[in-house]
């Protein structure tokens, strides 16, 4: 019997921005340091990682909402691959390097990927990027190696506040719904779940979030979609354009022959 779908539920309201998840991820997956290990400060934020990429598979976003030096708030969100049920990256990968595992997670096989980078452009969340050491596209594997050994992913194990929770998707959804109800009862009426609905965009996300502001505030798309939504129309318009140009060429050269036959040629 195959295991049930597994994933992450991230409650952003209890994230304290400690970045233990980032460190645990880097450490377990042996990801190289940026800039050869030289410290590089962002200069405009306390967050110096800035984004997910080929060597940062976890990233704690600091959303700094300040109107003055003493009034404002931080929203913290530990971002990661969403392991979409209908995964855009898997859909377009031409080499078969991106697979869905027995845990319903999405993994890039680094020994198959040839670095064409179409998955980077397809991902609606900006999760994937090239790891310049391997020359291949890389992202969170949801610690596939640890899951196969019966362990939980390094990031969720390291999280000191249980902002990142790992488990079966069905159980995590129940837990998340209860948490939203609890927050609403406490007066935090803005709390809602992003990506937990299996009937929602991309068939639901196996890494879903509890948020307290609009998705775009966290750098998340409101309605992430599959890239193939454009395939049919774009192809049809290209074919129509080809037929028009072909007709122009045929008519132009045919006309020339007819002109010459009637003595009016160029």
């Amino acid at each position: 019997m195959s295991p049930e779908p597994m994933g992450f539920y991230t409650d952003t309201t209890v994230c304290i921005g400690c970045k233990a998840c980032e460190v645990a991820c880097k450490s377990w997956n042996q990801l190289p340091a940026a800039n050869g290990g030289r410290t590089e400060l962002s200069g405009d934020s306390y967050d110096n990682t800035r984004r997910l990429d080929g060597i940062h598979w976890r990233h704690v976003k600091f959303i700094e909402q300040f109107e003055g030096p003493y009034e404002g708030r931080w929203l913290m969100m530990s971002d990661v691959c969403k392991h979409c049920v209908e995964a855009p990256c898997l859909e377009v990968c031409p080499t078969g390097a991106i697979i869905r595992t027995e845990f319903d997670t999405v993994v890039i096989q680094s020994d198959v990927c040839n670095g064409c980078r179409v998955c980077i452009a397809a991902c609606p969340f900006g999760v994937i990027d090239i790891n310049h050491v391997s020359g291949t596209a890389q992202k969170c594997t949801l610690c596939y190696d640890r899951l196969q050994a019966g362990l939980e992913p390094a990031c969720s194990q390291a999280c000191p506040t249980d902002s990142i929770q790992f488990g079966s998707i069905a159980e995590l959804r129940e837990r998340a719904v209860e948490r939203v109800a609890q927050l609403h009862a406490q007066g935090e009426s803005r709390a809602y779940l992003y990506g937990a609905d299996p009937d929602g965009p991309l068939g639901g996300l196996n890494s879903f979030y509890l948020l307290v502001d609009k998705p775009e505030v966290y750098g998340l798309p409101v309605n992430p979609r599959l890239p193939t939504r454009n395939l049919r129309l774009s192809s049809l318009l290209s074919v129509a354009s080809g037929l028009l140009l072909g007709a122009l060429a045929l008519v132009g050269f045919r006309k020339r022959r007819m002109d010459e036959r009637t003595g009016g040629g160029t």
Binding site: V92, F125, N230
Partner: protein, 310 residues
Amino acid sequence: MSDTFFTSAPHWTWFIVPYFFIGGLAGGACFLAAVLAWIGRPEDRPVARTGFLVGFAGAVVSGLLLTLDLGRPERFWHMLFQSERLPHLSFKSWSPMSFGAWALLLFGLFSGLAALGAVVEEGRLGRGGRAAALRLLHTGPVAGVIVALAASLGFFVAGYTGVLLSVTNRPIWADSPWLGALFLSSGASSGAAVLVLLGARRGSAPGSLTRLVAFDARALLVELVLLIVFLASLGPVVGVWLSGWGVVLGLGVVLAGIVIPLRLHTRGGEPGGSFPIRAAMLVLLGSFLLKLCVMLASEGISLRRMAERM
């Protein structure tokens, strides 16, 4: 703000921009060569032969550029075969990167055969015992099938690149379904332009060049209309062109690459004279700049900056 602004750039730059330009040009030239081979006169044969040679050379260069752009170039064959399950093919009819790799390979094969036929026809190959067999490559039904496949695949390669961009989630590219049609028209006009440029040196008849110039003018008009439709289809995302790339699009693509060549075409002149030659060079420049600014305008978008502006 469009959801496409939350994505990462795939870094398709200095190999892919020339690939889109050369692939489009080669596909367009090969298609026009096929049309001339089907319904042209004997005097059109030099242009047709040039078109097949351009098609094949362009396919080879395109393949090299695509391979060099890979993070792991030695694994280029993973696009075509399942690396873990040889000899199973790797093919996804819904992934333009997948079927595009196959289309380019087959375009190279059939344009190569058509180019070989052209070389044989010019008497540079196939003298002696193999002459009869090689003659099949430029006369008769076998040659007809080869030419038809090379032309179809050429147009396919010229257009699928735009479809590939639309089948992503990136700003500009995924915000319009018109890029495939636009790139195809650009490929057709640049294909005609390169045949005009090379034709004069390869003994093309003045009549052939005149007709190519006339076709180029029509293709440029189609390209201009499609460019306007493409920009209109972007909706609020059209604001991304309020940048340096918008200047390149306006001055480089529209003015220098379409409007001025159209003006030069209408002024006429000798087929091998300065006006058609200048127009052809500008068309090639415009086609390159179109690919350049469509690619880099999207590549360079900074999420933060765009979020503040739009």
